[in-house]
Amino acid sequence: MSRATWIHASILGAFCLGFGIVLAVTDQQTNDDIKQRILEDKERSLSQVLPTAIHDNSPVTDTIILKDAKGEDVTVYRATKGGQVTGVAYTIVGTGYAGPIRLMLGVDAEGKILGVRVITHKETPGLGDKIQVDKGDWILRFNGLSFANTPLEKWKVKKDGGQFDQFSGATITPRGVVGAIREGLHFFDAQKSKMLEAG
């Protein structure tokens, strides 16, 4: 190979090496911070369905994996206080108008809903997105409900004979959300013993 070829090769090689080192160093420097941030993110979102008052642990790290009715793995985050499980949170999926709606459901040890939040959805903006907490308080009406205080046949939207309002223009989205929560409570009932086993 000629001299010129070696020059090109060494220039590009040198730049690669140099920037490689720079990036490696930066990565080292930021790695811990980034991990910390991600943890904080998760904690913050979990805190919406598992109020900080009911636990003294970090639910993000206290997880168990259970199988749902369909046999799929579900990660359950557990809130404990003094070693007692006070609440659990897990992801539930409902079928919306435009695809799956993923929600995080928090339930206390008695099976009462602590909170529900939407994680992702593809519903029509302005119509189906009222299930988001920042677009309306519809999702908050589930707080405190359980199979104990609301009979099973009422866990439907009004149109289907249940007790939950649909919002104007959209029936399918609320129906999907209500259905998902109903299934989520069934899941809690079925796996209650495993969930509440002291970690």
Binding site: I7, H8, I11, L12, F15, L23, T26, T30, P125, G126
Partner: protein, 223 residues
């Protein structure tokens, strides 16, 4: 050869603006301008990357041979983008959560590469830095304007969530100008990006025409 600073700044902000004159970097423009805040965030990140890469390229411009310049430029842009990405993630996490998805897009934005080729590879360090910076600021301005219009029409707000990006001190920027749920949603959906960008282009041409300037037709390269 040295271009006056004034021309560099004017070019970056208006005459040769990356988005509304050269029609470069349309992909991030369309993707992030659903709100003014998003536009601002990506704009700032892009400006940082551009200023840093212009500086570096100008610094090494006599070392880099013609044959390998493109890979080196791309390497520099990619490295700067990764740097910004990492640093933002670590230390400006709220902003990162809003923009994280779009920051890697800076690599594929052809505006930085275009400026490296057209300017930084030929001009001295100081001027190149200013060019990169002001091209970036021009890009930011265009994104903010397009974002603001889309946000206003589509959602009735301007700079919503600015505090998430800039810190709690900037809550005052968050304006709601129309009642909730009355926006023309189309504006914040993808077609709205094209429509509003088109209208902004028209506006620039009309201003230029009114100022008696000759309209240059830009070749539309977009990535």
């Amino acid at each position: 050869m040295a271009t006056p600073y004034k021309t560099i700044i004017k070019d970056g902000l208006w005459e040769n603006n990356g988005v509304i004159a050269m029609l470069l970097g349309m992909c991030p423009t369309m993707a992030v301008t659903t709100s003014a805040t998003n536009g601002l965030g990506l704009g700032i990140a892009t400006a940082l990357v551009m200023a840093a890469s212009s500086l570096l390229v100008a610094l090494f411009r006599n070392t880099i041979t013609q044959e390998v310049r493109i890979p080196v430029f791309i390497l520099i842009i990619a490295s700067m983008t990764t740097l910004v990405d990492l640093c933002m993630n670590a230390w400006m996490h709220e902003m990162y959560k809003v923009l994280g998805l779009f920051i890697p897009l800076i690599v594929s934005n052809c505006l930085p590469l275009a400026r490296l080729e057209a300017f930084a590879a030929k001009e001295p360090v100081g001027r190149s830095f200013v060019d990169g910076l002001f091209m970036g600021i021009g890009f930011t301005l265009a994104l903010v304007v397009i974002g603001a219009i889309r946000e206003l029409i589509g959602n009735g707000t301007i700079f919503a969530d600015a505090a998430l990006l800039l810190g709690p001190a900037f809550h005052f920027m968050e304006l709601r100008l129309l009642p909730a749920d009355t926006g023309v949603l189309l504006a914040i959906l993808p077609p709205g990006g094209f429509l509003v960008t088109g209208l902004v282009l028209v506006a620039k041409r009309m201003i230029d025409l009114a100022a008696g300037k000759e309209i240059r037709m830009a070749g539309a390269h977009s990535v």
